[in-house]
Protein backbone atom coordinates (compact mmCIF):
# COMPACT_ATOMS: atom_id res chain seq x y z
CA UNK A 1 0.00 0.00 0.00
CA UNK A 2 2.88 2.34 0.87
CA UNK A 3 4.37 1.70 -2.59
CA UNK A 4 1.03 2.50 -4.17
CA UNK A 5 0.72 5.78 -2.29
CA UNK A 6 4.27 6.77 -3.16
CA UNK A 7 3.64 5.97 -6.82
CA UNK A 8 0.45 8.03 -6.70
CA UNK A 9 2.37 10.98 -5.22
CA UNK A 10 5.08 10.60 -7.86
CA UNK A 11 2.43 10.38 -10.56
CA UNK A 12 0.51 13.42 -9.37
CA UNK A 13 3.61 15.60 -9.04
CA UNK A 14 5.00 14.54 -12.42
CA UNK A 15 1.54 15.05 -13.91
CA UNK A 16 1.28 18.56 -12.48
CA UNK A 17 4.69 19.39 -13.97
CA UNK A 18 3.65 18.11 -17.41
CA UNK A 19 0.30 19.86 -17.15
CA UNK A 20 1.83 23.13 -16.03
CA UNK A 21 4.36 23.36 -18.85
CA UNK A 22 2.50 24.75 -21.84
CA UNK A 23 2.57 22.39 -24.79
CA UNK A 24 3.03 19.30 -22.66
CA UNK A 25 -0.16 17.43 -21.81
CA UNK A 26 -1.55 14.79 -19.49
CA UNK A 27 -1.53 12.40 -22.45
CA UNK A 28 2.18 12.95 -22.90
CA UNK A 29 2.79 12.44 -19.19
CA UNK A 30 0.99 9.11 -19.14
CA UNK A 31 2.67 8.01 -22.40
CA UNK A 32 6.14 8.84 -21.15
CA UNK A 33 5.70 7.05 -17.84
CA UNK A 34 3.97 3.96 -19.19
CA UNK A 35 7.22 2.02 -19.77
CA UNK A 36 7.98 2.36 -16.04
CA UNK A 37 4.88 0.32 -15.34
CA UNK A 38 6.18 -2.67 -17.32
CA UNK A 39 7.97 -3.69 -14.17
CA UNK A 40 4.96 -3.34 -11.86
CA UNK A 41 1.75 -5.27 -11.36
CA UNK A 42 -1.45 -3.73 -12.57
CA UNK A 43 -2.53 -2.08 -9.32
CA UNK A 44 0.66 -0.07 -8.59
CA UNK A 45 0.80 0.80 -12.29
CA UNK A 46 -2.73 2.19 -12.08
CA UNK A 47 -1.87 4.35 -9.06
CA UNK A 48 0.98 5.88 -11.02
CA UNK A 49 -0.96 6.36 -14.26
CA UNK A 50 -4.12 7.72 -12.63
CA UNK A 51 -1.93 10.10 -10.61
CA UNK A 52 -0.35 11.34 -13.83
CA UNK A 53 -3.76 11.70 -15.44
CA UNK A 54 -5.31 13.70 -12.60
CA UNK A 55 -2.17 15.75 -11.98
CA UNK A 56 -1.77 16.44 -15.68
CA UNK A 57 -5.30 17.72 -16.11
CA UNK A 58 -5.06 19.85 -12.97
CA UNK A 59 -1.61 21.34 -13.64
CA UNK A 60 -2.88 23.13 -16.73
CA UNK A 61 -4.54 25.83 -14.66
CA UNK A 62 -1.26 27.29 -13.40
CA UNK A 63 0.05 28.88 -16.63
CA UNK A 64 -3.53 29.55 -17.76
CA UNK A 65 -3.98 31.84 -14.79
CA UNK A 66 -0.49 33.28 -14.46
CA UNK A 67 0.61 33.84 -18.06
CA UNK A 68 -2.61 33.49 -20.07
CA UNK A 69 -1.37 30.34 -21.82
CA UNK A 70 -3.36 27.16 -21.15
CA UNK A 71 -1.00 24.43 -19.96
CA UNK A 72 -3.26 21.80 -21.47
CA UNK A 73 -6.02 22.28 -24.06
CA UNK A 74 -8.62 21.65 -21.35
CA UNK A 75 -7.73 24.82 -19.46
CA UNK A 76 -8.42 27.22 -22.34
CA UNK A 77 -11.45 28.67 -20.58
CA UNK A 78 -9.47 29.02 -17.34
CA UNK A 79 -7.54 31.84 -18.98
CA UNK A 80 -10.75 33.86 -19.54
CA UNK A 81 -11.23 34.70 -15.90
CA UNK A 82 -8.01 33.48 -14.33
CA UNK A 83 -5.64 35.79 -16.15
CA UNK A 84 -7.63 39.00 -15.50
CA UNK A 85 -7.60 38.08 -11.82
CA UNK A 86 -3.85 37.51 -11.86
CA UNK A 87 -3.36 40.90 -13.54
CA UNK A 88 -5.28 42.48 -10.67
CA UNK A 89 -2.83 40.90 -8.27
CA UNK A 90 -5.21 38.10 -7.29
CA UNK A 91 -3.17 35.30 -8.87
CA UNK A 92 -2.96 33.23 -5.73
CA UNK A 93 -6.67 33.59 -5.07
CA UNK A 94 -7.45 32.51 -8.64
CA UNK A 95 -5.11 29.53 -8.39
CA UNK A 96 -6.68 28.39 -5.14
CA UNK A 97 -10.22 28.73 -6.47
CA UNK A 98 -9.16 26.74 -9.53
CA UNK A 99 -7.50 24.02 -7.48
CA UNK A 100 -10.46 23.65 -5.14
CA UNK A 101 -12.88 23.50 -8.10
CA UNK A 102 -10.66 20.90 -9.78
CA UNK A 103 -10.77 18.80 -6.65
CA UNK A 104 -14.55 19.00 -6.35
CA UNK A 105 -14.98 18.26 -10.07
CA UNK A 106 -12.76 15.22 -9.71
CA UNK A 107 -14.71 13.92 -6.72
CA UNK A 108 -18.12 14.41 -8.35
CA UNK A 109 -16.99 12.57 -11.46
CA UNK A 110 -15.57 9.81 -9.30
CA UNK A 111 -19.00 9.33 -7.72
CA UNK A 112 -20.49 9.12 -11.21
CA UNK A 113 -17.85 6.58 -12.17
CA UNK A 114 -18.61 4.43 -9.13
CA UNK A 115 -22.37 4.56 -9.74
CA UNK A 116 -22.69 4.22 -13.49
CA UNK A 117 -19.92 1.85 -14.52
CA UNK A 118 -21.51 -1.23 -12.91
CA UNK A 119 -24.89 -0.32 -14.44
CA UNK A 120 -23.45 0.14 -17.90
CA UNK A 121 -21.40 -3.06 -17.59
CA UNK A 122 -24.48 -5.01 -16.58
CA UNK A 123 -26.36 -3.69 -19.60
CA UNK A 124 -23.40 -4.38 -21.87
CA UNK A 125 -23.25 -8.02 -20.70
CA UNK A 126 -26.41 -8.65 -22.70
CA UNK A 127 -24.71 -7.38 -25.85
CA UNK A 128 -24.10 -9.79 -28.70
CA UNK A 129 -21.60 -9.14 -31.50
CA UNK A 130 -24.29 -7.06 -33.23
CA UNK A 131 -24.61 -4.57 -30.37
CA UNK A 132 -20.88 -4.51 -29.77
CA UNK A 133 -20.34 -3.64 -33.41
CA UNK A 134 -23.00 -0.94 -33.27
CA UNK A 135 -21.57 0.57 -30.09
CA UNK A 136 -18.20 0.98 -31.79
CA UNK A 137 -19.92 2.48 -34.82
CA UNK A 138 -21.70 4.84 -32.42
CA UNK A 139 -18.34 5.80 -30.90
CA UNK A 140 -17.10 6.68 -34.37
CA UNK A 141 -20.15 8.83 -35.17
CA UNK A 142 -19.95 10.64 -31.82
CA UNK A 143 -16.44 11.67 -32.77
CA UNK A 144 -17.94 13.32 -35.81
CA UNK A 145 -20.69 14.99 -33.84
CA UNK A 146 -18.17 16.74 -31.65
CA UNK A 147 -15.41 17.71 -34.02
CA UNK A 148 -16.48 21.34 -34.03
CA UNK A 149 -17.26 22.15 -37.61
CA UNK A 150 -14.80 19.51 -38.84
CA UNK A 151 -17.33 16.71 -39.09
CA UNK A 152 -16.18 15.07 -42.31
CA UNK A 153 -12.52 15.27 -41.37
CA UNK A 154 -13.30 13.79 -37.96
CA UNK A 155 -15.13 10.80 -39.44
CA UNK A 156 -12.43 10.40 -42.08
CA UNK A 157 -9.74 10.34 -39.39
CA UNK A 158 -11.73 7.78 -37.39
CA UNK A 159 -12.14 5.38 -40.31
CA UNK A 160 -8.56 5.94 -41.39
CA UNK A 161 -7.54 4.85 -37.89
CA UNK A 162 -9.70 1.74 -38.34
CA UNK A 163 -7.97 0.97 -41.65
CA UNK A 164 -4.49 1.34 -40.16
CA UNK A 165 -5.42 -0.91 -37.24
CA UNK A 166 -6.41 -3.65 -39.72
CA UNK A 167 -2.89 -3.81 -41.16
CA UNK A 168 -1.46 -7.20 -40.24
CA UNK A 169 -2.89 -10.66 -39.81
CA UNK A 170 -6.62 -11.35 -39.39
CA UNK A 171 -6.88 -13.65 -36.41
CA UNK A 172 -9.69 -15.82 -37.75
CA UNK A 173 -8.08 -17.15 -40.93
CA UNK A 174 -4.47 -16.13 -40.19
CA UNK A 175 -4.12 -14.30 -43.47
CA UNK A 176 -2.17 -11.09 -43.99
CA UNK A 177 -3.58 -7.99 -45.58
CA UNK A 178 -2.00 -4.66 -46.46
CA UNK A 179 1.45 -5.85 -45.37
CA UNK A 180 4.49 -5.71 -47.68
CA UNK A 181 6.09 -9.17 -47.66
CA UNK A 182 9.35 -7.77 -46.27
CA UNK A 183 7.59 -6.63 -43.08
CA UNK A 184 5.53 -9.76 -42.38
CA UNK A 185 7.75 -10.75 -39.49
CA UNK A 186 7.09 -7.46 -37.71
CA UNK A 187 3.47 -6.74 -38.54
CA UNK A 188 1.78 -10.04 -37.65
CA UNK A 189 -0.34 -8.23 -35.08
CA UNK A 190 -0.16 -4.86 -36.77
CA UNK A 191 1.32 -1.65 -35.42
CA UNK A 192 1.68 -1.63 -31.64
CA UNK A 193 -0.61 0.78 -29.83
CA UNK A 194 2.04 2.35 -27.64
CA UNK A 195 4.51 3.58 -30.31
CA UNK A 196 1.61 4.86 -32.42
CA UNK A 197 0.17 6.70 -29.47
CA UNK A 198 3.37 8.25 -28.13
CA UNK A 199 4.34 9.17 -31.68
CA UNK A 200 1.03 10.87 -32.40
CA UNK A 201 0.85 12.79 -29.15
CA UNK A 202 4.41 13.36 -27.93
CA UNK A 203 6.82 13.18 -30.88
CA UNK A 204 4.56 15.15 -33.23
CA UNK A 205 4.34 17.89 -30.60
CA UNK A 206 8.14 18.10 -30.52
CA UNK A 207 8.23 18.40 -34.33
CA UNK A 208 5.67 21.20 -34.18
CA UNK A 209 7.63 23.13 -31.60
CA UNK A 210 10.91 22.52 -33.45
CA UNK A 211 9.29 24.14 -36.47
CA UNK A 212 8.46 27.14 -34.33
CA UNK A 213 12.09 27.25 -33.31
CA UNK A 214 11.56 26.42 -29.61
CA UNK A 215 11.49 30.13 -28.93
CA UNK A 216 9.70 30.40 -25.67
CA UNK A 217 9.31 33.79 -24.24
CA UNK A 218 7.67 33.60 -20.88
CA UNK A 219 7.44 36.90 -19.18
CA UNK A 220 7.99 36.86 -15.48
CA UNK A 221 4.83 37.64 -13.62
CA UNK A 222 5.35 40.29 -11.01
CA UNK A 223 4.68 38.77 -7.67
CA UNK A 224 2.42 41.51 -6.36
CA UNK A 225 -0.34 40.03 -4.33
CA UNK A 226 -2.05 43.04 -2.87
CA UNK A 227 -5.42 42.00 -4.35
CA UNK A 228 -8.12 40.11 -2.49
CA UNK A 229 -6.92 36.98 -0.70
CA UNK A 230 -8.54 33.59 -1.13
CA UNK A 231 -11.18 32.56 1.33
CA UNK A 232 -13.68 29.75 1.27
CA UNK A 233 -16.46 32.31 0.81
CA UNK A 234 -15.20 32.70 -2.78
CA UNK A 235 -17.09 29.51 -3.52
CA UNK A 236 -20.25 30.67 -1.78
CA UNK A 237 -23.20 30.58 -4.15
CA UNK A 238 -21.20 28.50 -6.61
CA UNK A 239 -22.70 25.16 -5.55
CA UNK A 240 -25.01 24.85 -8.54
CA UNK A 241 -22.31 25.99 -10.91
CA UNK A 242 -19.87 23.47 -9.42
CA UNK A 243 -22.24 20.54 -9.71
CA UNK A 244 -23.50 21.51 -13.16
CA UNK A 245 -20.00 22.01 -14.56
CA UNK A 246 -18.71 18.79 -13.02
CA UNK A 247 -21.61 16.85 -14.50
CA UNK A 248 -21.06 18.44 -17.92
CA UNK A 249 -17.39 17.45 -17.68
CA UNK A 250 -18.26 13.91 -16.64
CA UNK A 251 -20.80 13.52 -19.43
CA UNK A 252 -18.43 14.89 -22.07
CA UNK A 253 -15.79 12.54 -20.72
CA UNK A 254 -18.07 9.56 -21.31
CA UNK A 255 -18.38 10.40 -25.01
CA UNK A 256 -15.43 8.91 -26.81
CA UNK A 257 -12.89 11.16 -28.43
CA UNK A 258 -14.12 14.35 -26.82
CA UNK A 259 -11.30 16.21 -25.18
CA UNK A 260 -11.30 18.35 -22.09
CA UNK A 261 -11.36 21.53 -24.15
CA UNK A 262 -14.86 20.74 -25.44
CA UNK A 263 -16.00 19.97 -21.89
CA UNK A 264 -14.69 23.17 -20.38
CA UNK A 265 -15.97 25.35 -23.23
CA UNK A 266 -19.46 23.87 -22.83
CA UNK A 267 -19.40 24.29 -19.04
CA UNK A 268 -18.15 27.85 -19.36
CA UNK A 269 -20.85 28.84 -21.82
CA UNK A 270 -23.48 27.25 -19.57
CA UNK A 271 -22.14 29.12 -16.56
CA UNK A 272 -22.39 32.30 -18.61
CA UNK A 273 -25.95 31.73 -19.75
CA UNK A 274 -27.16 30.81 -16.23
CA UNK A 275 -25.24 33.58 -14.52
CA UNK A 276 -27.00 36.51 -12.84
CA UNK A 277 -24.39 38.86 -14.24
CA UNK A 278 -23.09 37.27 -17.47
CA UNK A 279 -21.31 40.48 -18.48
CA UNK A 280 -18.77 39.99 -15.68
CA UNK A 281 -17.61 36.60 -16.98
CA UNK A 282 -14.35 37.08 -18.78
CA UNK A 283 -13.33 40.00 -16.61
CA UNK A 284 -12.02 37.91 -13.78
CA UNK A 285 -14.74 36.44 -11.59
CA UNK A 286 -14.53 33.15 -9.68
CA UNK A 287 -17.63 31.86 -11.47
CA UNK A 288 -15.83 31.29 -14.77
CA UNK A 289 -12.85 29.66 -13.08
CA UNK A 290 -15.11 27.32 -11.17
CA UNK A 291 -16.94 26.25 -14.35
CA UNK A 292 -13.77 25.66 -16.32
CA UNK A 293 -11.74 23.80 -13.73
CA UNK A 294 -14.50 21.65 -12.24
CA UNK A 295 -15.55 20.51 -15.73
CA UNK A 296 -12.11 19.56 -16.95
CA UNK A 297 -11.44 17.51 -13.86
CA UNK A 298 -14.94 16.08 -14.17
CA UNK A 299 -13.64 14.58 -17.37
CA UNK A 300 -11.30 12.24 -15.52
CA UNK A 301 -13.96 10.06 -13.95
CA UNK A 302 -16.23 10.33 -16.97
CA UNK A 303 -13.65 9.09 -19.43
CA UNK A 304 -13.10 5.98 -17.31
CA UNK A 305 -16.77 4.94 -17.50
CA UNK A 306 -16.87 3.71 -21.14
CA UNK A 307 -13.31 2.42 -20.78
CA UNK A 308 -14.14 0.09 -17.92
CA UNK A 309 -17.65 -0.90 -18.96
CA UNK A 310 -17.37 -1.14 -22.76
CA UNK A 311 -13.65 -1.14 -23.45
CA UNK A 312 -13.98 2.15 -25.33
CA UNK A 313 -11.66 4.93 -24.14
CA UNK A 314 -13.27 8.30 -23.43
CA UNK A 315 -10.23 10.38 -24.41
CA UNK A 316 -6.65 10.10 -25.57
CA UNK A 317 -5.26 9.71 -22.05
CA UNK A 318 -7.57 6.85 -21.09
CA UNK A 319 -6.63 5.29 -24.44
CA UNK A 320 -3.15 4.84 -23.01
CA UNK A 321 -4.63 3.22 -19.92
CA UNK A 322 -6.03 0.55 -22.28
CA UNK A 323 -2.51 -0.37 -23.25
CA UNK A 324 -1.58 -0.54 -19.57
CA UNK A 325 -4.38 -3.08 -19.07
CA UNK A 326 -3.37 -4.98 -22.22
CA UNK A 327 0.22 -5.24 -21.01
CA UNK A 328 -1.05 -6.99 -17.89
CA UNK A 329 -3.23 -9.26 -19.97
CA UNK A 330 -6.50 -7.85 -18.64
CA UNK A 331 -9.37 -7.27 -21.01
CA UNK A 332 -11.40 -4.16 -20.25
CA UNK A 333 -15.06 -4.47 -21.18
CA UNK A 334 -18.39 -5.58 -19.74
CA UNK A 335 -16.84 -8.46 -17.77
CA UNK A 336 -14.12 -6.35 -16.20
CA UNK A 337 -15.86 -5.46 -12.96
CA UNK A 338 -17.24 -8.92 -12.21
CA UNK A 339 -13.98 -10.65 -13.06
CA UNK A 340 -11.67 -8.09 -11.45
CA UNK A 341 -13.70 -6.72 -8.54
CA UNK A 342 -10.56 -6.14 -6.49
CA UNK A 343 -8.91 -4.10 -9.29
CA UNK A 344 -12.11 -2.12 -9.78
CA UNK A 345 -12.16 -1.13 -6.11
CA UNK A 346 -8.49 -0.23 -6.30
CA UNK A 347 -9.18 2.04 -9.28
CA UNK A 348 -11.83 3.92 -7.31
CA UNK A 349 -9.56 4.17 -4.29
CA UNK A 350 -6.64 5.29 -6.46
CA UNK A 351 -8.69 8.03 -8.09
CA UNK A 352 -9.93 9.27 -4.72
CA UNK A 353 -6.41 9.25 -3.33
CA UNK A 354 -4.93 10.96 -6.39
CA UNK A 355 -7.51 13.72 -6.20
CA UNK A 356 -6.68 14.28 -2.53
CA UNK A 357 -2.93 14.20 -3.25
CA UNK A 358 -3.43 16.60 -6.14
CA UNK A 359 -5.25 18.99 -3.84
CA UNK A 360 -2.60 18.79 -1.11
CA UNK A 361 0.30 19.06 -3.57
CA UNK A 362 -1.13 22.11 -5.28
CA UNK A 363 -3.20 24.05 -2.79
CA UNK A 364 -0.63 24.68 -0.08
CA UNK A 365 2.68 24.86 -1.96
CA UNK A 366 1.12 26.82 -4.84
CA UNK A 367 3.82 29.48 -4.69
CA UNK A 368 6.44 26.84 -5.47
CA UNK A 369 4.31 24.98 -7.99
CA UNK A 370 3.78 28.14 -9.98
CA UNK A 371 7.52 28.29 -10.73
CA UNK A 372 7.21 25.14 -12.88
CA UNK A 373 6.01 27.17 -15.83
CA UNK A 374 9.53 28.55 -16.23
CA UNK A 375 11.15 25.15 -16.81
CA UNK A 376 12.70 25.43 -20.27
CA UNK A 377 11.06 22.95 -22.59
CA UNK A 378 14.03 22.80 -24.93
CA UNK A 379 15.91 21.02 -22.13
CA UNK A 380 13.08 18.60 -21.41
CA UNK A 381 12.28 17.50 -24.96
CA UNK A 382 15.57 15.66 -25.61
CA UNK A 383 15.02 13.60 -22.46
CA UNK A 384 11.40 12.97 -23.44
CA UNK A 385 12.53 11.71 -26.84
CA UNK A 386 14.87 9.28 -25.10
CA UNK A 387 12.15 7.99 -22.77
CA UNK A 388 9.69 7.64 -25.66
CA UNK A 389 12.28 5.53 -27.49
CA UNK A 390 12.64 3.30 -24.43
CA UNK A 391 8.86 2.94 -24.20
CA UNK A 392 8.46 2.08 -27.86
CA UNK A 393 11.40 -0.32 -27.87
CA UNK A 394 10.09 -2.21 -24.87
CA UNK A 395 6.46 -2.29 -26.10
CA UNK A 396 6.94 -5.80 -27.42
CA UNK A 397 10.01 -6.98 -25.54
CA UNK A 398 12.57 -5.02 -27.48
CA UNK A 399 12.11 -4.49 -31.20
CA UNK A 400 13.71 -1.64 -33.12
CA UNK A 401 10.78 -1.88 -35.56
CA UNK A 402 8.53 -0.32 -32.92
CA UNK A 403 10.93 2.60 -32.52
CA UNK A 404 10.66 3.21 -36.27
CA UNK A 405 6.86 3.05 -35.88
CA UNK A 406 7.20 5.70 -33.17
CA UNK A 407 9.06 8.04 -35.50
CA UNK A 408 6.65 7.38 -38.37
CA UNK A 409 3.65 8.01 -36.09
CA UNK A 410 5.32 11.24 -34.97
CA UNK A 411 5.75 12.42 -38.57
CA UNK A 412 2.19 11.35 -39.42
CA UNK A 413 0.86 13.22 -36.37
CA UNK A 414 2.78 16.31 -37.42
CA UNK A 415 1.36 16.08 -40.97
CA UNK A 416 -2.17 15.52 -39.57
CA UNK A 417 -1.81 18.85 -37.78
CA UNK A 418 -0.87 20.48 -41.08
CA UNK A 419 -3.85 19.13 -43.01
CA UNK A 420 -6.25 19.54 -40.09
CA UNK A 421 -7.05 15.89 -39.43
CA UNK A 422 -8.00 15.38 -35.76
CA UNK A 423 -5.48 13.04 -34.11
CA UNK A 424 -7.78 11.88 -31.32
CA UNK A 425 -10.37 10.67 -33.85
CA UNK A 426 -7.68 8.70 -35.66
CA UNK A 427 -6.54 7.18 -32.38
CA UNK A 428 -10.03 6.09 -31.29
CA UNK A 429 -10.51 4.43 -34.70
CA UNK A 430 -7.13 2.77 -34.43
CA UNK A 431 -7.88 1.36 -30.98
CA UNK A 432 -11.35 0.10 -31.84
CA UNK A 433 -10.66 -1.03 -35.42
CA UNK A 434 -9.83 -4.67 -34.74
CA UNK A 435 -12.84 -5.15 -32.46
CA UNK A 436 -15.05 -3.49 -35.04
CA UNK A 437 -13.90 -6.02 -37.63
CA UNK A 438 -14.20 -9.05 -35.35
CA UNK A 439 -17.72 -8.22 -34.23
CA UNK A 440 -18.80 -7.44 -37.78
CA UNK A 441 -17.49 -10.75 -39.12
CA UNK A 442 -18.96 -12.65 -36.16
CA UNK A 443 -22.37 -11.09 -36.59
CA UNK A 444 -22.47 -11.53 -40.35
CA UNK A 445 -21.15 -15.11 -40.23
CA UNK A 446 -23.79 -16.04 -37.68
CA UNK A 447 -26.54 -14.67 -39.89
CA UNK A 448 -25.13 -16.48 -42.94
CA UNK A 449 -24.20 -13.23 -44.63
CA UNK A 450 -27.38 -11.24 -44.13
CA UNK A 451 -26.77 -7.63 -43.20
CA UNK A 452 -30.29 -7.46 -41.79
CA UNK A 453 -28.87 -8.98 -38.62
CA UNK A 454 -27.84 -5.48 -37.59
CA UNK A 455 -31.48 -4.46 -37.43
CA UNK A 456 -32.78 -7.60 -35.77
CA UNK A 457 -32.40 -6.91 -32.05
CA UNK A 458 -34.24 -4.37 -29.87
CA UNK A 459 -31.09 -3.15 -28.04
CA UNK A 460 -29.58 -2.72 -31.48
CA UNK A 461 -32.47 -0.44 -32.45
CA UNK A 462 -31.72 1.79 -29.47
CA UNK A 463 -28.11 2.11 -30.55
CA UNK A 464 -29.22 2.83 -34.11
CA UNK A 465 -31.36 5.69 -32.78
CA UNK A 466 -28.30 7.03 -30.94
CA UNK A 467 -26.18 6.71 -34.07
CA UNK A 468 -28.74 8.56 -36.19
CA UNK A 469 -29.20 11.20 -33.49
CA UNK A 470 -25.45 11.81 -33.32
CA UNK A 471 -25.22 12.14 -37.11
CA UNK A 472 -28.14 14.55 -37.24
CA UNK A 473 -26.60 16.55 -34.41
CA UNK A 474 -23.26 16.50 -36.23
CA UNK A 475 -24.71 17.83 -39.47
CA UNK A 476 -26.65 20.57 -37.69
CA UNK A 477 -23.75 21.59 -35.48
CA UNK A 478 -21.42 21.54 -38.48
CA UNK A 479 -23.70 23.99 -40.33
CA UNK A 480 -24.03 26.20 -37.27
CA UNK A 481 -20.25 26.34 -36.78
CA UNK A 482 -19.67 27.11 -40.44
CA UNK A 483 -22.31 29.85 -40.39
CA UNK A 484 -20.68 31.32 -37.30
CA UNK A 485 -17.27 31.26 -38.96
CA UNK A 486 -18.75 33.02 -41.97
CA UNK A 487 -20.22 35.73 -39.77
CA UNK A 488 -16.89 36.13 -37.98
CA UNK A 489 -15.04 36.29 -41.29
CA UNK A 490 -17.43 38.94 -42.55
CA UNK A 491 -17.11 41.02 -39.40
Amino acid sequence: MITNILLAVLGVIAGIIFGAIPGMTATMAVAVFLPMTYAYDLVPALYLLLGLYIGGISGGLVPAILINIPGTPSSITTTFDGYPMAKRGEGERALKIGILSSFIGGIISLIALALFTPLLSAAALKFSAVEKFLIILFALTVIAALSNGQMLRGVFAGFFGVLVSLIGMFSVNNSYRMVPSALKAYLSDGFQLLPVLIGLFAISQIFEEAEEGMRFKIEKVDGNNEGTKFSLSDLKGQGVNLVRSSIIGTFMGVLPGVGGSAASILAYSQAKSWSKHPELLGQGVPEGLVASESSNNGLTGGAMIPLLSLGIPGDSTTAILISAFMLQGIQVGPLFITQNTETWHQILLAMLLCNIIMFLCMFYPIKWISKIIYIPRQRLYPVIIMICVVGAYAAKNGRMFDVWSLLIAGIVGYLFGKIRIPKTCFLIGFILGKDLENYFIQAVSASKGSLLVFFSRPIGWVIWVLIIASIVYAVMDDRKQKARKKVEAAA
Binding site: Y38, F160, V383, A394, E437, G449
Partner: protein, 145 residues
Protein backbone atom coordinates in the same frame (compact mmCIF):
# COMPACT_ATOMS: atom_id res chain seq x y z
CA UNK B 1 -25.99 -9.92 -48.29
CA UNK B 2 -22.29 -10.43 -47.73
CA UNK B 3 -20.74 -13.73 -48.60
CA UNK B 4 -18.35 -14.68 -45.81
CA UNK B 5 -15.80 -17.09 -47.25
CA UNK B 6 -13.10 -18.37 -44.92
CA UNK B 7 -10.21 -17.88 -47.34
CA UNK B 8 -11.02 -14.27 -48.20
CA UNK B 9 -12.81 -12.94 -45.11
CA UNK B 10 -9.72 -11.02 -44.02
CA UNK B 11 -10.40 -8.61 -46.86
CA UNK B 12 -14.11 -7.94 -46.20
CA UNK B 13 -13.81 -5.16 -43.62
CA UNK B 14 -10.69 -3.48 -45.10
CA UNK B 15 -12.52 -3.21 -48.45
CA UNK B 16 -15.62 -1.72 -46.84
CA UNK B 17 -13.49 0.76 -44.87
CA UNK B 18 -11.55 1.75 -48.00
CA UNK B 19 -14.87 2.38 -49.80
CA UNK B 20 -16.11 4.52 -46.90
CA UNK B 21 -12.85 6.46 -46.89
CA UNK B 22 -13.12 7.14 -50.64
CA UNK B 23 -16.69 8.40 -50.21
CA UNK B 24 -15.64 10.62 -47.29
CA UNK B 25 -12.66 11.96 -49.20
CA UNK B 26 -14.88 12.82 -52.16
CA UNK B 27 -17.34 14.50 -49.78
CA UNK B 28 -14.57 16.54 -48.18
CA UNK B 29 -13.19 17.64 -51.55
CA UNK B 30 -16.63 18.55 -52.88
CA UNK B 31 -17.90 20.45 -49.82
CA UNK B 32 -14.65 22.37 -49.35
CA UNK B 33 -14.36 23.06 -53.07
CA UNK B 34 -17.90 24.40 -53.15
CA UNK B 35 -17.19 26.56 -50.13
CA UNK B 36 -14.20 28.04 -51.98
CA UNK B 37 -16.32 28.64 -55.08
CA UNK B 38 -18.91 30.38 -52.90
CA UNK B 39 -16.16 32.68 -51.65
CA UNK B 40 -15.25 33.46 -55.24
CA UNK B 41 -12.13 31.31 -55.40
CA UNK B 42 -11.29 28.40 -57.69
CA UNK B 43 -12.72 24.94 -56.89
CA UNK B 44 -9.25 23.54 -56.39
CA UNK B 45 -6.73 25.74 -54.69
CA UNK B 46 -3.23 25.25 -53.44
CA UNK B 47 -3.06 24.91 -49.68
CA UNK B 48 -2.36 28.36 -48.33
CA UNK B 49 0.82 27.72 -46.51
CA UNK B 50 2.29 24.48 -45.27
CA UNK B 51 4.75 25.83 -42.75
CA UNK B 52 4.09 28.34 -40.01
CA UNK B 53 5.33 31.89 -40.23
CA UNK B 54 9.04 32.16 -39.81
CA UNK B 55 9.68 28.40 -39.61
CA UNK B 56 12.92 27.10 -38.14
CA UNK B 57 13.95 24.48 -40.69
CA UNK B 58 17.24 23.72 -38.97
CA UNK B 59 15.45 22.65 -35.79
CA UNK B 60 12.64 20.88 -37.65
CA UNK B 61 14.75 18.81 -40.03
CA UNK B 62 17.55 18.60 -37.48
CA UNK B 63 15.10 16.81 -35.18
CA UNK B 64 14.27 14.36 -37.97
CA UNK B 65 17.91 13.70 -38.87
CA UNK B 66 19.01 13.27 -35.25
CA UNK B 67 16.05 10.97 -34.57
CA UNK B 68 16.94 8.71 -37.50
CA UNK B 69 20.59 8.78 -36.47
CA UNK B 70 19.62 7.88 -32.90
CA UNK B 71 17.53 4.88 -33.97
CA UNK B 72 20.19 3.61 -36.39
CA UNK B 73 23.06 3.80 -33.90
CA UNK B 74 21.19 2.44 -30.86
CA UNK B 75 21.58 -1.15 -32.01
CA UNK B 76 25.23 -0.65 -32.91
CA UNK B 77 26.62 1.21 -29.91
CA UNK B 78 24.18 0.33 -27.14
CA UNK B 79 21.59 2.36 -25.27
CA UNK B 80 23.54 4.34 -22.69
CA UNK B 81 26.35 5.77 -24.79
CA UNK B 82 24.10 6.47 -27.80
CA UNK B 83 21.63 8.28 -25.57
CA UNK B 84 24.35 10.43 -24.00
CA UNK B 85 25.52 11.43 -27.49
CA UNK B 86 22.11 12.12 -28.94
CA UNK B 87 20.48 13.78 -25.93
CA UNK B 88 23.51 16.08 -25.99
CA UNK B 89 23.06 16.77 -29.73
CA UNK B 90 19.31 17.40 -29.32
CA UNK B 91 20.11 19.84 -26.51
CA UNK B 92 22.62 21.67 -28.69
CA UNK B 93 20.08 21.78 -31.51
CA UNK B 94 17.31 23.21 -29.33
CA UNK B 95 19.22 25.41 -26.88
CA UNK B 96 22.19 26.73 -28.85
CA UNK B 97 25.97 26.61 -28.65
CA UNK B 98 27.00 29.22 -26.11
CA UNK B 99 29.72 27.80 -23.82
CA UNK B 100 27.40 27.84 -20.81
CA UNK B 101 24.65 26.12 -22.78
CA UNK B 102 27.03 23.39 -24.00
CA UNK B 103 28.02 22.69 -20.40
CA UNK B 104 24.38 22.37 -19.32
CA UNK B 105 23.65 20.20 -22.36
CA UNK B 106 26.47 17.82 -21.49
CA UNK B 107 25.37 17.62 -17.88
CA UNK B 108 21.75 16.88 -18.83
CA UNK B 109 22.82 14.30 -21.41
CA UNK B 110 25.06 12.34 -19.06
CA UNK B 111 22.86 12.51 -15.97
CA UNK B 112 19.53 11.84 -17.71
CA UNK B 113 20.87 8.99 -19.84
CA UNK B 114 22.49 7.28 -16.87
CA UNK B 115 19.37 7.65 -14.74
CA UNK B 116 17.08 6.27 -17.46
CA UNK B 117 19.52 3.48 -18.32
CA UNK B 118 19.95 2.37 -14.72
CA UNK B 119 16.33 2.88 -13.68
CA UNK B 120 14.82 1.01 -16.61
CA UNK B 121 17.60 -1.42 -17.48
CA UNK B 122 18.79 -2.39 -14.00
CA UNK B 123 15.92 -1.75 -11.58
CA UNK B 124 12.92 -2.34 -13.79
CA UNK B 125 14.71 -5.03 -15.83
CA UNK B 126 13.38 -3.75 -19.13
CA UNK B 127 15.31 -4.83 -22.22
CA UNK B 128 17.02 -1.82 -23.78
CA UNK B 129 18.77 -1.72 -27.16
CA UNK B 130 22.19 -3.34 -26.82
CA UNK B 131 25.36 -2.91 -28.84
CA UNK B 132 29.14 -2.99 -28.60
CA UNK B 133 29.25 -0.92 -25.41
CA UNK B 134 26.72 -3.01 -23.54
CA UNK B 135 28.29 -4.55 -20.47
CA UNK B 136 26.78 -7.48 -18.62
CA UNK B 137 27.88 -8.05 -15.04
CA UNK B 138 27.32 -11.79 -14.89
CA UNK B 139 28.09 -12.26 -11.20
CA UNK B 140 26.01 -9.32 -10.07
CA UNK B 141 23.24 -10.27 -12.49
CA UNK B 142 22.63 -6.99 -14.27
CA UNK B 143 23.40 -5.30 -17.55
CA UNK B 144 24.31 -1.75 -18.45
CA UNK B 145 22.93 -1.45 -21.97
Amino acid sequence: MINVVYSTEHWIVPRIVICILCILLAAIIITEGRARVAKGEAFFSMPKKFFKDNPDFIKLFGTLVLFVGYIVTLDIIGFTLTSIIFVFLFNILYAGTSPKSIGISLLIAVVASLIVSIAFGVFFKITLPNGMFTITFVNQGFTIY
